[in-house]
Symmetry: C4
Subunit: 232 residues, 4 copies
């Protein structure tokens, strides 16, 4: 029952990436986890989006062994699993090759917090992973990608830093649900686009002061949040 | 009656920003004022645009106290109110995070008057506010944002300078009605886009001469305006 | 009869600019001329495009005096007329503020012939007019704009150079019909966009050799043209 | 029968370029070859895309002589034929003036392999041809363009390098079918766009390490490919 709903949520999270124009070819995948069962639901690999149904979603355990589903899971499954293991507070992961975020990843540059649009969602620069070693690339590559992400977030709250750029590759995002992870992927693309235009305008642009950044981040996410309508 | 019409106008001004693609997520708000009553009509905070009705608009007095409406007003209400108090000639305010205008705000650069498209609407460079102090950010932040805008426009006619870039944030625009303020937000985005392309093409581009700028601005806005059809 | 057809052609040329996304606000106008009658048909000034009918087109003589039509002609009429007087071989003029072409005009840079796409339509760099003097701006401004264009084309064949950038303003284009002028406006925007990307990629990019440029231009336009299907 | 199917495939490959927004004006053409018959099927020259039918496709032999069809073939036919003669493994060719790939061709710069999106399709930088000599331009220009491409690919596997930028012109792409060639044209445009943004962000960006590039290329194309669903 709960797994059925999760399948539908994961499919919808994948389709929302496509609708937002973030997916090039079949690059892009979103997953969700049922923490109680320890089961991950993820998109199958290389299947056209317009033909996918909830039943095509692949279910695996946290070792990556398929529990349900006749299709191969996304080739990035191992990356997702490493993130779920490391970040206990997250229940959704999304990966895209969205254009502007990917350009920052290709340029191997973190995205500075140039404005309040950024600060409303992410509490500082979006970090970039270190270059994988030839051994890491030649070995369990997808899992090693996940480990590089985890090392980069170490010491931070994944709720304050819900996205990382994998160097020479593209972004990975996460959140409390598959929908939240996909939404972060969309907002990250917007933030990356604004930052790209900012840098092409003035290469020496400076991040906003920490006090302004925190004011905006906490206005939406802190205990004192006063944006939007009060929950009832 | 008049307030009912204003509610509808404010809703429409908000929706026109969305239709023009200027609104990222729920960033963006337009308001109007009934000068005779001293009442401000503004969009509620964080409500999806496709579900908003005129009845959802929030009405406040010029102290920001809610007079009608069960929803929280836009979190930028205090900024709008400061502008209405300072600029007696305006009756509409619009705020967006439109991409190109926001990039200039993030780069903390005024938009030079590079061409006649700009000069047709704004009589010179679009100014950028000063950085708020930590005290201003930590205090009544939204009102202080409005005050920074007013200081930057001081000594100019708000009809000739109907837009400002808030440093590290995004533009605020105004005009004789909510529709006019939203229209300025759209034209500003176009002007900001042209200027971005101009600067990426030639970083040392120069503004047009004042005489050409004024010819264009006054051709549309001066007492001798000869553009468009004559009013009857 | 012939004038009726010309009205319809001029309206269609104007609408094609809008459909191609070249028109910002109401900036943009196309006209045609009946050389036998010496009559110019042009779009009215500041009228919304979606409401224009052939009957709204304004007809003037080559002195700019209105012969038919109750609306004011486009405020750029005088520029069009100067072009018709100077270039006997043209029968259509189009003006837009299309984004990339306008950026080059604002940067006051001619568009070098960076590739064969450009060379297929224009036989060399797209020239930029000189800055108008304060006297020219303060005097008969629109006619003086036309004269600046004519001076810049002097000594060239307007069929080989069917477009000019007016410095700090935007492009004017022409051709053997209103449709041809509008089509040049569209191709110029594409050429300007490619050239902008070329320069942002490599500021020191070089034009293609003259021999390659002429091969392409003449493949489409010369006496030996072999592109497309043979006329019957 | 087989030729009929090829006509339809070639038409569809041409239309897919248009749908993907890669075709400016009538620039763009795709062809296919029936290797058993030694016959090439190609789009006619300068015919509007929305009116083309399979019957309009032109069939020629490998000397470029028309075998079937009443229309002139694409003026780039000779380039296609040189590629079919040189690369025995390909059965489709596609040529566009897609914006970003054309900008790189105009800047005369190869597209470095900046990321895994690139590496998933092309095993290294996308090469640029040498400048044609005046004799080559003045002589059999289109065939000489093909020869310049072949010289640039010499010593490589056309399956690992399925695209070239013709200097000062635009890309040519190929593959095992007309559809595959058109698909490469689309992916190349995406790769060129990402690379353009990467370079405008950081002019000194470095390609990814060879080991990472090969891991991605071979994950999709090698004997050990593990991306997508297993063929049955």
């Amino acid at each position: 029952m709960r797994l059925e709903r999760l399948r539908a949520e994961v499919l919808e999270a994948n389709l929302s990436l496509v609708r937002a124009g973030l997916v090039v070819d079949t690059f892009g995948n979103a997953s969700g986890i049922d923490r109680a069962e320890g089961l991950v639901v993820i998109k199958p690999s290389g299947v056209p989006y317009d033909k996918m149904t909830p039943a095509d979603m692949v279910i695996t355990n946290l070792e990556g062994r398929i529990v349900e589903g006749s299709l191969r899971p996304s080739s990035d499954l191992a990356t997702h699993i490493v993130l779920y293991r490391a970040f206990a507070s997250i229940s959704g992961v999304a990966h895209t090759h969205s254009r502007h975020a990917t350009a920052w990843a290709q340029a191997a540059r973190e995205i500075p917090c140039f404005g309040t649009t950024h600060a409303d969602y992410i509490r500082g620069a979006v970090p970039v992973t270190a270059q994988l070693t030839p051994e890491e690339v030649g070995g369990d590559y997808e899992a090693n990608t996940g480990k590089a992400i985890v090392r980069r977030i170490a010491g931070r709250d994944p709720a304050e830093f819900p996205a990382v750029l994998v160097r020479g590759h593209a972004p990975f995002c996460w959140g409390p649900s598959p929908a939240a992870a996909s939404r972060t992927a969309m907002l990250l693309e917007e933030i990356a686009r604004l930052a790209w235009m900012t840098v092409t305008l003035s290469p020496d642009s400076e991040p906003i002061p920490d006090v302004l950044r925190d004011r905006h981040f906490l206005r939406k996410h802190g205990a004192q949040a006063y944006y939007g309508q009060q929950s009832k």
